[in-house]
């Protein structure tokens, strides 16, 4: 009978992209339970709606998280447009989705690098981030910023991508696919990777539903929920979109789902770039949201479903803006996955929910 020790994990840890603290109750190298603690990056951004009007707040929403910056600005803009009844032109919708899918590619490449680093595969980490640099170069050429894009505004987008730039984007993505396929092959077939990820942090399909998990974390447990399949905006013009699911339920399945999602996003960008209509990229938005008007919105960010809620009060400042990010939903799932695992697997399991704690805490 071992003695239970409490090992504090985080908030600073090489494997964590953002600060998260866990109290691991450990007995002889086996984790009995894990109690999460967040709050290290709480900046109170939701209260800033009182001092920034609805046009200025989009820049605050973007900076909630560096990895999901495009997702938050897009979700915020869509929610305010729904609140004020603004219809965004088709070309702007296409451009937004193209940038959002590129953001998904960069986020998953970042994650694959971190996941490889979590079990010591540093050269894979370097390769993934090398390919990610090419996507960041695309962002720099088309939007002017590498991480914080500032390209979405309420009513449309701020910049256009002309045909020459679009061809360059597609060429860059084609250049990534070759090297990426080799990397993916390594991650999914190599024996040492399998040793560290198969049967680690198993969550069954029923548990995934009970814990209300979202995103690739849930899709790896055969929960086929993806907001993109509702077909809103430019997603509705895709010829065939099926969410990628896997019924493994363990860390290996989550790695596989994210790997395949990168390829799916590259296909989506190519399809939309070929179909993009000619037209305006923005529509003028005047006035302010009506008092008491409310709107909610969901968006599939790289980490899962993100819920937005806005309420107006008749002035240019919103009464309330709420962003519920996918990681806050997945914390319960993470706590469950950590119970009963080996201490050495804690890194991998925490990373497989793709924790974006800055988003969780705002």
């Amino acid at each position: 009978m071992g003695k239970a020790t409490v090992i504090p994990f985080g908030p600073q840890h090489p494997v964590l992209p953002e600060p998260l603290h866990l109290d691991l109750v450990v007995e002889d190298e086996k984790v009995i339970e894990a109690i999460p603690q967040i709050g290290f990056v709480h900046r109170g951004l939701e209260k800033l709606v009182e001092t920034r009007d609805y046009n200025q707040f989009i820049y605050v929403a973007e900076r909630i998280c560096g990895i999901c910056a495009m997702g938050h600005s897009l979700g915020y803009a869509e929610t305010v447009e729904s609140l004020m009844g603004v219809e965004v032109p088709k070309r702007a919708q296409y451009l937004r989705v193209i940038w959002h899918e590129l953001s998904r590619i960069h986020s998953h490449l970042l994650w694959l690098g971190l996941a490889a680093d979590a079990f010591g595969f540093e050269s894979m980490f370097m390769h993934c981030w090398r390919l990610r640099e090419r996507v960041l170069d695309i962002f720099e050429k088309t939007t002017g910023g590498r991480v914080i894009l500032s390209v979405v505004k309420v009513g449309g987008v701020v910049r256009d991508i002309d045909d020459a730039q679009m061809a360059e984007v597609i060429a860059t993505l084609d250049g990534i696919v070759d090297d990426y396929t080799k990397i993916m092959n390594t991650l999914l077939t190599d024996a040492s990777v399998k040793n560290r990820t198969v049967d680690v942090g198993y969550i069954s399909h029923d548990e995934a539903l009970a814990l209300s998990m979202v995103g690739p974390f849930a899709r790896a447990s055969a929960v086929g929920y993806d907001v993109r399949s509702f077909g809103r905006g430019a997603y509705g013009d895709l010829s065939d979109f099926q969410p990628i699911t896997d019924d493994g339920g363990d860390c290996f399945a989550r790695v596989k789902v994210r790997c395949l999602e990168v390829l799916q996003s590259i296909e989506i960008v190519k399809e939309l770039a070929a179909k993009i209509p000619v037209g305006d990229i923005e529509v003028a938005v005047k006035g302010a949201p009506a008092a008491g008007a409310q709107a909610s919105n969901v968006l599939e960010q790289p980490r899962g479903e993100c819920y937005y809620y806005a309420r107006g009060n008749g002035t240019k400042n919103l009464e309330r803006m709420r962003m519920r990010t996918p990681t806050s939903q997945n914390l319960a799932g993470m706590t469950k996955a950590l119970a009963g695992c080996d201490l050495a697997d804690v890194n991998m399991i925490i990373l497989t929910i793709d924790p974006c704690i800055s988003c969780t805490e705002r």
């Binding site: 605050v60 050269s123 390769h127 500032s150 701020v158």
Partner: protein, 119 residues
Amino acid sequence: MGSFKLGGMTFGSLFKKPETVLYPVVTKTAPAGLKGHIVNDASLCILCGICQKTCPCHAIEVDKKARTWAIDPFRCVQCGSCARACPKACLAMEPTYTPVAAVQAVTVVEVPDPKAAAE
């Protein structure tokens, strides 16, 4: 020892061009539209103050009496909304980043009075 799956890619990278550039000997050309810093063309500025109202960071200060337009480049987040809101198109985003400095300083631009110039 298992198969060296990344062998092909690793061997090939001995001969391919490296992904990195030899900075600072070689610098990357900034793409057009890079969000670097805001400049104001004083000859077109009318000191209306719309940029000050639009800025989400309160980085711009317009003093109509003293005829100065000031921006704090260290508060600016390079969003570009001032350049888009300007009615006279005198604000522009230059593709060079604000250089690193030991002290945060505000950039002040004196806007000449068109009436005084006409006399």
